[in-house]
Amino acid sequence: MPNTAISVSDLSKKYDDRLAVSHINFEVPLGIVCGFVGPNGSGKTTTMRMLLGLITPTTGQGHILGEPIEHPEKYLSRVGAMIEGPAFYPALSGYENLMVLAKLGGFPIERVQQLLDKVGLGDRGKSKFKTYSLGMKQRLGIAAALLPNPKLLMLDEPTNGLDPEGIQEVRALLRDLANEGTTVFVSSHLLSELEIISDYIVMLRKGEIVFAGPIGELMAQQQPTIIAKSLQQSDLQKIVEIAEAAGHHAVIRNDSVHVLAEMDWAPVLNKAAFDAGITLAQLAPQLPNLEETFFEMTGDK
């Protein structure tokens, strides 16, 4: 019995002379929620496709639930996936679309209605897929991914098009699945959502791994920030100068100054600002969240 759901070593994919994924290595333990993040074009979907046997890697190896990715027939019956949005037959109903996949995978047909109910489409199952809203399509995609009662669930942007209530429901669903032992490997642009539900993070940038490990470890590596606001906008630049004079990196962002410094430097900054004739309206030490960490590590902002 393997103790990793996903294990990837030196995995690359080259299209013509461009490396979409470049020699990546990471592992995802069993039974956790793992966020898979990276800017557009960083290679997330290409990686997922390789793990699902849809495209052949140029180099490297990968194992899913202990089986090599060269033999997807050995593990895909235990994997549920939705890649690059929900794709279904527009002229068939949601129910019929799931029936096609249930028949194909040899899954019990009773699961179809159960899953439609589970994702909140119980009363719209007979409607044609082409009449569904984006959020409903997304829910149907999640239901399709759950058909095999998967040990590993791979979802690519599952909350796209969902309203806040839907996002919350998906978040709860993924957490429940993880609690029941399913490993969830999920990519999303909603980093605040991933921060709440993920135990693990794999971060990609330009096809390369920037970080892979427990989310707590990632946050612990980040320097805390002190956010300072002054009564006068014109004083913001002076605060930056005070911080930089003390050897701290500082930038103006959203009408406030963000200073990379430990929390205990906040009183020092407060006094220095007072001495310089600046009245601070706010002074708050803050640990960076996943979004700020992401931008810092991927260099997107």
Binding site: R49, L52, G53, L54, I55, T56, P72, E73, L76, V79, A81, I83, E84, G85, A87, F88, Y89, P90, A91, L92, E96, M99, V100, L101, K103, L104, G105, G106, A144, L147, P148
Partner: protein
């Protein structure tokens, strides 16, 4: 494999596709079969490309299936369109990735799809056979054609032989459609190319040089349906047509199995 067939049949049975296809088959069958009897004395002919099918020919034991054999080529074009659309749409809808996640055996997907579409084609051929023979039987007295030999043992043998020939032709046309669908990955492109080639380009080529008839794929497959013609023997059509279909199927299968699914 059986799971693939069951899954594909669920897609093929949707009313717009099923009744639309059967409606087109019934329409062409009715039109072409009626034409043979209603235009029997026309100097412009009552058969394909102005050929005349005489009372003497229609009175033979094989007379009941003359219309059915003539419509074989049209049924083939319908099959080409259905097989091409059903194959190529997996790429345009992006549903191929769902299929391959649930059944990673790519040859199983391909063969399962083919079997289900052949079953669909058999339903279409059976309906066309019944409609054509029924219309022939109804119109024969008005056209002064005797039906005495139609339902003898020789007549039933002719019905069976024609059914087999039309089935071979329709399945071959369907495989050509499937190959086009796999190569072009777009229903519109695959259907346009296939239909334009068979109905326009081949006809023009044969008008310029009649001997090309012996080598063009559409002509071979149509000739199989009608059991051969004076210009094209059944054996030749079966051999050349078989080679075209086999080569196309092998190339498309290898591509399908090896190609990355990136859409």
């Amino acid at each position: 494999m059986l799971n693939v067939v069951k899954a594909e049949l669920r897609k093929l049975r949707r009313p717009t596709l099923f009744f639309g296809t059967m409606g087109a088959a019934i329409f062409f069958t009715g039109l072409i079969t009626s034409f043979i009897y209603l235009m029997i004395d026309s100097p412009q002919g009552n058969g394909d490309r102005g050929r005349s099918i005489s009372r003497e020919v229609l009175t033979l034991a094989s007379g009941s299936v003359n219309g059915f054999a003539s419509v074989g080529g049209f049924l083939g074009i319908i099959a080409l369109c259905v097989f091409a659309a059903q194959t190529a749409q997996e790429y345009t809808y992006g549903t191929l990735r769902n299929l391959l996640i649930r059944q990673p055996g790519r040859m199983k997907i391909l063969i399962g799809k083919l079997i289900s579409m052949v079953l669909f084609g058999l339903v279409m051929i059976s309906i066309a056979a019944v409609i054509s023979i029924a219309i022939s039987y109804i119109l024969a007295p008005g056209a002064k054609v005797s039906t005495d030999l139609w339902f003898t043992s020789a007549g039933f043998e002719a019905i069976f032989t024609t059914f087999v020939n039309v089935t071979i032709s329709v399945v071959a046309f369907g495989i050509v459609g499937m190959v086009l669908g796999l190569l072009l990955r777009s229903p519109i492109s695959a259907i346009s190319f296939g239909v334009l080639w068979i109905l326009i380009i081949e006809v023009l080529l044969m008008a310029v040089k009649n001997s090309l008839q012996s080598w063009l794929p559409g002509a071979q497959l149509s000739a199989i349906a009608s059991g051969g013609s004076p210009d094209l023997t059944y054996t030749h059509a079966l051999t050349v047509g078989g080679i075209y279909v086999a080569v196309g199927a092998i190339v498309a299968s290898v591509l399908f199995v090896r190609r990355d699914v990136a859409n």
